[in-house]
């Protein structure tokens, strides 16, 4: 029978691919000594199109997920200390959180920055701050993730300039910059310029990294914030992948071949509390991305079809009541992320409903991942839940719901997802859909139809008095202002001015890539805020219509 022969071929192809893959030097057996196979069930197998079961034939047998812990607070030196602590503790990647003024493209001395400098992340005004942030860390050997969007091109330019100063070849830089502006208009609200010029900057960075930084991921298409803002799982998935399609369409419209950039796109999802729904979502993400990239966008390189993603546990699920029980929530959400085949994972700290994590809380969160990786045995078998009738149904159902949303956006955009996403931003579709889902959830909690342990049930045992929270030294703001001022005194203002003038000229011409001029400007020690202000003269500033 043809089908049997096909199945046999698929199995053989998987086996051949698996046999070519180097494995970790551990025993793949249970705690009781029972040897286990690398996969069970039917094809398509892990590493085979459409990759529902995982992007690699051996999954975590070859390489565990990257335990990438997000950190950033205070001045660049403070965060540098936390980075070194993470590396010493066995963390395998750095992930940078920036403070609000930096995320909004404004300097620490902006009037709105009062009270925000160094609070929710590290303050970066100039290349000088970047030097301190990565002091004594070899940029050529570490993989760095930078969570920034509106001014992503500026921070990227600083990182490239720093590498050059340290004689590290930019081609060897490895990491990810979030650089996903579309979800800012939809959910996180850290936008600067209007959508279309923002897309130009993103396309510029995609083109620049494709040409010069082959190990860099220029966009991390992020559903995390969409979910945190209130969406449900299917909306998180559909809006994220639709944004991904929009970036693909924009880069193709700029003249790039899909296979020249798509292999470097990556994704970032939330892992929330409904265990099987999350696993279904991760599996559906891989299948949808692969199918669309191949069928709709004509990708030929299999790497263009792989939905590689980072996962973070759901910050919004953490409770300020009995915060220590968040350790259990995080462990279960992290386990769903691993069973769903994540490439990297951040586990939230139990105290994050109240403040940035203390060092102890961040260590417990990292240890949670290490327990999953080394004690539970779940890393021995790829897609261990594949073939479960429930998990397969859930995968199909989430995919079906996502496809309904794609159809809506495709229609809004007259056959273009990119135009559909612009239209959905303009007409409030995304913001409204996310707010409706969030409100539905809150109503259910309020009515007691959904239990949140410690909040509306099982409320005994909370000890609000004994909490040990991270306090940001109020001196941070004053110190940062002093640093910024010193940089401004030390630099040659005429070089700053001419570099900004050149950037404005380049920005006004859509055929010129803005990244080289941005690198020149940061090397002249232009501040992030000055670069943004220069670009605003060409691009304008986005203002959201307030809708509750």
């Amino acid at each position: 029978m043809a089908n049997d022969a096909e199945a046999e071929n698929g199995r053989q192809a998987w086996q051949d691919a698996y046999d070519r893959t180097p494995l970790r030097d551990v025993d793949f057996e249970t705690m009781s000594g029972i040897p286990v196979d690398p996969i069970y069930g039917d094809g398509p197998y892990p590493g085979q199109y459409p990759f529902t079961r995982g992007i690699r034939p051996s999954m975590y047998r070859s390489r565990l997920w990257t335990m990438r812990m997000f950190a950033g607070f205070g001045t660049a030196e403070d965060t540098n200390g936390r980075f070194k602590e993470i590396l010493r503790n066995g963390g395998t990647g750095l992930s940078t959180a920036f403070d609000m003024p930096t995320l909004m493209g404004r300097d620490s001395d902006h009037e709105w920055a009062l009270g925000e400098v160094g609070r929710a992340g590290v303050a970066i005004d100039t290349l000088v701050d970047m030097r301190d942030l990565f002091a004594d860390i070899d940029l050529g050997s570490v993989s760095t993730s930078m969570t920034i969007n509106g001014p992503a091109h500026i921070i990227m330019a600083m990182y490239i300039a720093l590498a050059e100063e340290n004689s590290v070849d930019r081609a060897s830089l490895s990491g990810t910059i979030q650089n996903d502006i579309l979800k800012e208009y939809q959910a996180q609200k850290e936008y600067i310029f209007p959508p279309r010029p923002s897309m130009r900057l993103i396309t510029d960075l995609i083109q620049f990294t494709a040409a010069e930084m082959p190990r860099w991921h220029p966009v991390s298409v992020s559903g995390y914030h969409i979910r945190e803002a209130g969406s449900n799982a299917a909306q998180e998935l559909a809006f994220t992948l639709a944004n991904g399609f929009a970036y693909v369409e924009a880069a193709m419209a700029a003249g790039m071949d899909v296979d020249d950039f798509a292999p470097r796109l990556s994704f970032f999802f939330n892992s929330h509390s409904d265990f099987f729904e999350e696993i279904g979502k991760f599996r559906a993400a891989r299948r949808i991305w692969a199918t669309w990239m191949k069928e709709r966008y004509g990708a030929k390189d299999e790497r263009s079809m792989l939905c590689r993603f980072h996962t973070q546990t759901a910050g919004v699920s953490l409770t300020a009541q009995q915060p220590e029980i968040n350790v259990a929530r995080v462990a279960l959400q992290a386990l769903a992320g691993v069973l769903g085949g994540s490439q990297s994972l951040h586990t939230d700290s139990f105290d994050e409903a109240m403040a940035l994590p203390t060092e102890d809380a961040a260590r417990i969160a990292l240890r949670t991942q290490q327990i999953i990786a080394h004690e539970t045995g779940v890393a021995n078998v790829a897609d261990p839940l594949g073939g479960s009738a429930y998990v397969e149904w859930m995968t199909d159902e989430i995919e079906r719901r996502a496809e309904e949303i794609f159809s809506h956006l495709d229609e809004l955009g007259g056959g273009s997802i990119l135009e559909g996403v612009y239209a959905g931003i303009d007409n409030g579709y995304f913001v409204g859909a996310i707010a409706d889902s969030g409100y539905r959830f809150e109503r259910a909690v309020n009515a007691g139809r959904r239990i949140v342990v410690g909040v509306n049930e099982f409320t005994d045992g909370d000890h609000p008095g004994d909490r040990n929270l991270l306090r940001i030294n109020p001196q941070v703001e004053a110190n940062q202002l002093k640093r910024l001022n010193a940089v401004k005194q030390s630099r040659d203002d005429s070089i700053v001015r001419s570099s900004l003038d050149q950037l404005v000229i380049d920005a006004a011409d859509p055929t010129i890539n803005t990244i080289p001029a941005t690198i020149k400007a940061v090397q002249a020690l232009a501040t992030e805020g000055e670069i943004v202000a220069a670009l605003e003269t060409v691009f304008g500033t986005y203002v959201e219509t307030a809708v509750m």
């Binding site: 920055a113 009062l114 009270g115 800012e184 609200k189 300020a320 969030g438 929270l469």
Partner: protein, 133 residues
């Protein structure tokens, strides 16, 4: 107390874009019969004070997330006072317990932390407004 609906201005001041909580409270208060003047993101203290005056509002609700509450909430209380507006400031969001005393001392009327029920939101706003009039 009268039957006139409470008019409340809701806003976030400064850069922070975490507006899920503010939207949620806006809908809860609207559904409870309040007149919500929803300003949304990126407001200034001055702008909020001006709106309170123009709209003859009974209360101001500010949502905070990134630890800027110790700076911005007292500033709002002070600015309303200087403008001669006796209007309670209600603070929502992520506020660590150890900051509560200082904020209440600075004149903040109510602090609504994570996990506050819809009933408590509505009751707190009503009480804050009633105690002023």
């Amino acid at each position: 107390m009268t039957d006139t609906p409470i008019r409340i201005v809701l806003a976030k001041i400064g850069f922070d874009g975490h507006d899920r909580g503010l939207r949620m409270v806006a809908r809860i208060l609207r559904d409870a019969g309040c007149e919500v003047i929803y300003l949304g993101l990126r407001q200034t203290t001055e702008n909020v004070v001006a709106v309170v005056e123009q709209e003859d509002a009974d209360a101001v609700g500010l949502s905070m997330h990134n630890a800027q509450h110790l700076t911005l909430a007292p500033k709002m209380v002070e600015s309303l006072r200087s403008a001669g507006l006796d209007v309670p400031v209600i603070l929502g969001g992520v506020v660590p317990d150890q900051d509560i005393a200082a904020l209440m001392e600075s004149g903040v009327a109510v602090i609504l932390g994570p996990g506050t029920s819809a009933e408590d939101v509505v009751r707190s706003v009503r009480e804050a407004v009633t105690s002023r009039s």
